[in-house]
C-alpha cells in the first residue's frame, strides 16, 4: 500500500538535488564573510593595541594610531544621523498616515526610490555643490554628514514606514473611534509599538554609513590632519578614507597597519549590526499582540 512508485523515487531524487543546490548556494554566502574576517584578524590583529586606537598617527602615517580617523567617523555618523533621522521619520509618518493618494504623493514616493538608487559618487558631487559651495559650509564635518544624511534618507524612510505599517490597523481604528486625532493615535499607540523597529532600521543604516568613502571624500574628509576636529565646521579624518590613503597613497606603511584599520572599521560595523539584531530580538520578545 505504501510502496514507492517510480514517480515517488524520482520525486525524492529531485527533492534531494534541489535541497543540495540551495544548501550549497547558502554556504557560498558565508565564505566571503569568514574569509574577510579571517584574513583581517590574521594580518591586522597584531596591529591592535590601546595605543593604536587612542593615539595620533606618526611618521607620515606609517606608524602610530588612528585616533583622529576613529573620532572623525564617529562625528560623521553621529551628525549624519541627527540630520537624517528626524527628517526621515517625519517624512515616513507623513507618507504613511497623512498623505492623500494623489500625483504629488506618487512623485514623492518615486523620488525616494530613485534617491536610493543614486550612486554614492553622485551623492558626493551633489554634496559638494549643495553643502560645500552653495550653503557655504566649506569642506567640513557638517557638509560631509549632510551628504551622508541625504544618502541614507530613503532607507530610513522606507524602514520607518514599514515599521509603522506593521502596527495593525485595528489599533488605529479603535483610537479614532474614541475621538483621537491622527497625531494622538501615532504618539500614544503607533510610535511606542514601532520605535524598536525604526531603531533597528536606523542602526543598520548607520553601519553602512560608517564605511562610505566617496560621499565624504570631497565634502569633509581630509587626507591627514594632526589634530582632532573641534566642531562640525572642521574637516576631519575618517576611517574609510584613511584606509584608502594608507593602503594606496602613502609609501612605506607596514602591512599590518591597513589591515588593522580595516579590522577596526569592520568591528564597528559588526557591533552596530549586532546591536540592531539584539533590538529586534528584544522587540519580538516584547510583542504586545
Amino acid at each position: 500500500m505504501f510502496s514507492s512508485t517510480p514517480l515517488d523515487r524520482r520525486n525524492r531524487q529531485v527533492e534531494w538535488l534541489f535541497r543540495a543546490i540551495f544548501f550549497l548556494m547558502t554556504l557560498l554566502l558565508i565564505v566571503p564573510v569568514v574569509r574577510i574576517l579571517g584574513v583581517l584578524i590574521y594580518k591586522g590583529g597584531s596591529a591592535l593595541s590601546f595605543e593604536f586606537l587612542f593615539t595620533m598617527p606618526k611618521d607620515g602615517m606609517t606608524a602610530g594610531g588612528i585616533l583622529p580617523a576613529l573620532m572623525g567617523t564617529v562625528w560623521l555618523v553621529a551628525v549624519a544621523l541627527l540630520a537624517s533621522v528626524p527628517v526621515g521619520v517625519a517624512a515616513a509618518i507623513y507618507l504613511s498616515v497623512y498623505a492623500p493618494d494623489n500625483w504629488l504623493t506618487r512623485v514623492i514616493n518615486l523620488a525616494i526610490i530613485n534617491l536610493a538608487g543614486v550612486p554614492s559618487i553622485v551623492h558626493a558631487l551633489f554634496g559638494v555643490g549643495a553643502f560645500v559651495v552653495f550653503a557655504r559650509f566649506g569642506t567640513s564635518i557638517l557638509a560631509a554628514s549632510l551628504t551622508l544624511a541625504v544618502m541614507t534618507l530613503p532607507v530610513v524612510i522606507v524602514s520607518t514606514r514599514e515599521s509603522l505599517q506593521a502596527v495593525p490597523r485595528a489599533f488605529r481604528e479603535a483610537c479614532w473611534n474614541m475621538g483621537a486625532t491622527r497625531w494622538q493615535t501615532i504618539r500614544r499607540v503607533v510610535l511606542p509599538n514601532s520605535i524598536s523597529g525604526i531603531l533597528t532600521g536606523v542602526i543598520l543604516e548607520v553601519s553602512r554609513t560608517a564605511g562610505e568613502t566617496a560621499p565624504i571624500m570631497f565634502t569633509g574628509a581630509a587626507f591627514f590632519l594632526p589634530f582632532l576636529p573641534q566642531s562640525i565646521f572642521d574637516q576631519t579624518m575618517a576611517m574609510s578614507l584613511h584606509l584608502f590613503v594608507i593602503s594606496t597613497q602613502v609609501p612605506g606603511v607596514p602591512e599590518e597597519l591597513p589591515y588593522g584599520v580595516a579590522l577596526v572599521l569592520i568591528a564597528m560595523v559588526l557591533t552596530m549590526n549586532a546591536t540592531s539584531i539584539a533590538f529586534r530580538v528584544h522587540l519580538r520578545g516584547k510583542k504586545k499582540w
Partner: protein, 253 residues
C-alpha cells in the same frame, strides 16, 4: 415616537468606490432603547455604524451621502468631530485591546479628553471596569497588558473603554463573534443595565440575540432597510416582508 429621536438618519447612502453598500436608509433611534440591526453578511450593517462615527474621514475610499442627526445636530456639520466621536462608543467584532496596560486602555479616552488627575482616572477606570463586569477579574493586575487578556475579557475591556468615553450612544458591532457563550450572557446583562442611561445600537449576526435584547429591530439586506419594528413584532407579527420572515426563521443567512 414621543420624544425627539436620539439619532435620525435620512437618505443615507454609503459607497466604497463603485460599490454602494447602503442605498438610502431612513430610520430613527430613540433615547434609551436598544436598537437591534440584523441582516446577513454584506448587508451594510457595519457601514451604517461607521457612517454614524464619520469614519469616512480616515478612509478615502468611503463616501457618505444623506443626513444623520445626533441629538438634533447634523453630524456632518459638527465642527469638532473628535468631540462627537467621544460621545459615541464603539465595540468591534474582534476585541481590540490596545497594546497598553488594562488601566491605560480604560484611561485612554479620558486622557484624550484632557483628564490628567490620577484620582479622577482611578475612579473612572474602576467604575467602567465594574460596569463592564470585569473589575473583579482584573483589579489586582491593572498594569498587565490589555491585549493579553482572554478574548471574552478583552471584549469586556473594550466595553469598559467605550464607557470611559462617557458616551450617549454605544455602538456594538457583532460583539459576541469571538466570545464564549457565558461571557456573551454576562455582556448581555451588562447591556440591559446600561440601557437605563445610554442608547445602544446592537448590530448582531445572531437573530436570537436581537430578540433577547433589542426593543426595536431593523432588518438590513443588500444595503437596504427592509423592515423596522418592535422586535417581537418582527418575529411574531402578522404582516411583514417575506424576506424578513425567511431571515429570522433561518431560511437564509
Amino acid at each position: 415616537m414621543t420624544a425627539s429621536p436620539k439619532v435620525s438618519v435620512r437618505g443615507l447612502h454609503v459607497r466604497y468606490g463603485e460599490r454602494e453598500v447602503l442605498r438610502g436608509v431612513d430610520l430613527d433611534i430613540s433615547e434609551h432603547e436598544i436598537f437591534g440591526i440584523i441582516g446577513p453578511a454584506n448587508s451594510g450593517k457595519t457601514s451604517f455604524l461607521r457612517a454614524l462615527n464619520r469614519m469616512e474621514q480616515f478612509d478615502p475610499a468611503m463616501e457618505v451621502e444623506g443626513s444623520i442627526l445626533f441629538n438634533g445636530h447634523d453630524i456632518h456639520t459638527v465642527r469638532n468631530v473628535y468631540a462627537l466621536r467621544r460621545r459615541i462608543g464603539v465595540v468591534f467584532p474582534l476585541p481590540v485591546g490596545l497594546p497598553l496596560s488594562i488601566y491605560e486602555n480604560v484611561a485612554f479616552a479620558p486622557r484624550l479628553a484632557g483628564v490628567k488627575a490620577k484620582s479622577i482616572l482611578d475612579e473612572i477606570v474602576e467604575r467602567c471596569l465594574t460596569r463592564a463586569a470585569l473589575w473583579d477579574e482584573v483589579k489586582d493586575r491593572l498594569g498587565a497588558l490589555g491585549s493579553l487578556l482572554s478574548g471574552g475579557q478583552q471584549q469586556r475591556l473594550t466595553i469598559a473603554r467605550a464607557l470611559a468615553q462617557d458616551p450617549d450612544l454605544l455602538l456594538l458591532d457583532e460583539f459576541s463573534i469571538a466570545v464564549d457563550p457565558v461571557t456573551t450572557m454576562r455582556i448581555e446583562d451588562v447591556l440591559k443595565e446600561l440601557r437605563k442611561e445610554i442608547t445602544i445600537v446592537l448590530v448582531t449576526n445572531l437573530v436570537q440575540q436581537a430578540r433577547r435584547l433589542a426593543d426595536r429591530t431593523a432588518f438590513f439586506l443588500d444595503g437596504e432597510l427592509i423592515e423596522i419594528g418592535v422586535t417581537e413584532d418582527l418575529f411574531t407579527g402578522p404582516v411583514m416582508d417575506q424576506r424578513t420572515r425567511d431571515y429570522v426563521e433561518g431560511r437564509f443567512g
